[in-house]
Symmetry: C2
Subunit: 236 residues, 2 copies
DNA sequence: GTCGATAGTGTCAAATCTGACAGACTTACG
DNA sequence: CGTAAGTCTGTCAGATTTGACACTATCGAC
């Protein structure tokens, strides 16, 4: 347990394969007393259909069930994780809006769990879940381990997003010029092209030129979409 | 040091005044061996001029200097914090692009420091800095305390943003109807009103009606600005 | 049973954006 | 000295958005 931090940081920095990284995370979660571990990464875009990648060592049948019934959309732990950075512990109360899910999870031996999320500057949200079948999480255990659990959440996110982001979201690799950023920021703040042309002392045509370049670079359908993409991915 | 976690969480949940909360954070930072502490909170909007709130117990003269020379805009620790969730330690290298700032900080007895940021679901970025005048941060110290420092970053952010967000950014209090969210998501993904009307099987006029309501609610100048605001504040 | 929030629809003129035509100037880099 | 990237500018037609006019209907709360 001494080598925790070094090993983690090494893994974080060196491992290039997400599956391999997950195995490392899993081994840490076992050291913390949890047989099961799940890591999910949700991309910020598109807003109408944000993709989520999942890694876990849950029973295969439960994984299939979860997928088939689209439990991701109603899982209360996920909903919490999308709104708050605070850790959350599985309770009957928490799962009351999704009793089916809860009962089935229990039937697969997933009765005790803890989850926390994190969000990076590209807008990616990562969620780490640690779970086991029995042995409720005690106050004492929590006090002893919550620092490490929170840390693991961070480390897992940093590693996972480093591995996955560039492939999943080409747009994060795009670089915008200073002028493009400037114009796009004003656009995001609700200025029209002609207003921006006054602010920056250039022709309206030039403003539209820059905007059009960004639209092309980000593969967007129009100005609004381009602005959203750039802002959500932290390009502005 | 035993009561760390309880006290922190209590403070986090109960204290309503940001200054009072900062005093609590400061006391923890002292327990961790740092005389000085700074907490900054940056709001996500407006993009052309994002406001930042600062709390710290630095020498008054240094605070004035920092403000007067607008060091916030070039501070390498801030720039790092805006791009990465990883903690960072003050080094000569780090400050080489801002040697003036670094020399002046040293002259005020701020030579050793550590900083980490976090980002919440409203897009607010918080940054915690722990500093002292001498005694370099050793590997051993870091290994012993980095979990707690990361934790404190989180706790500070949760408390501070709870205190400050509702006042600073009225828009976070706005609630959008389901239909408004739906329409706005499609808008963010680059669909035109007429396209959305097809997708949702309603009249184009109705789409514009919903969009206009959101524009009004969020006090935005137009569709693009409203969409950005909603997306950045996690309303979508 | 009225009130408020939500959802839906119509028309029309002016403002704004989009796309496609094409070209010029500067700066950094090799 | 050429080349690439970034910045800047022009015109014009057609699509889209915006703002202001009104109106109907449902649903839950008081």
């Amino acid at each position: 347990m001494k080598a925790w931090q070094e090993t983690q940081l090494q893994a974080l920095q060196s491992i290039q394969c997400a599956h391999q990284l997950f195995q490392t995370i899993l081994s840490f979660s076992k050291e913390l007393g949890f047989d099961h571990c799940a890591y999910g990464l949700r991309m910020p875009l598109p807003l109408t259909n944000p993709k989520t990648l999942m890694f876990n060592n849950y029973p295969t049948a439960w994984q299939a069930q979860y997928q088939a019934k689209n439990y991701l959309a109603i899982d209360p732990t996920v909903q919490h994780a999308m709104r708050s950075l605070l850790p959350i512990i599985w309770t009957d109360d928490l799962f009351s809006p999704a009793s089916d899910l809860w009962e089935e999870a229990c039937s697969f031996g997933l009765r005790v769990g803890w989850a926390q999320s994190s969000r990076d500057f590209n807008g990616f949200v990562g969620m780490l879940t640690l779970a086991r079948s029995n042995e409720p999480i005690t106050e004492i255990e929590l006090d002893a381990n919550k620092f490490k659990m929170a840390w693991l959440t961070q480390v897992a996110h940093l590693g996972m997003s480093r591995c996955l982001t560039p492939k999943l979201m080409q747009e994060v690799n795009v670089t915008l010029s200073n002028r493009e950023i400037e114009v796009l920021r004003w656009t995001a703040d609700g200025k029209t092209s002609s207003e921006i042309s006054c602010i920056l002392n250039i022709a309206e045509r030039t403003v539209n030129f820059h905007i059009n370049n960004v639209v092309t670079k980000l593969n967007a359908a129009n100005k609004t979409s381009a602005t959203i993409k750039a802002a959500m991915l932290g390009l502005l």
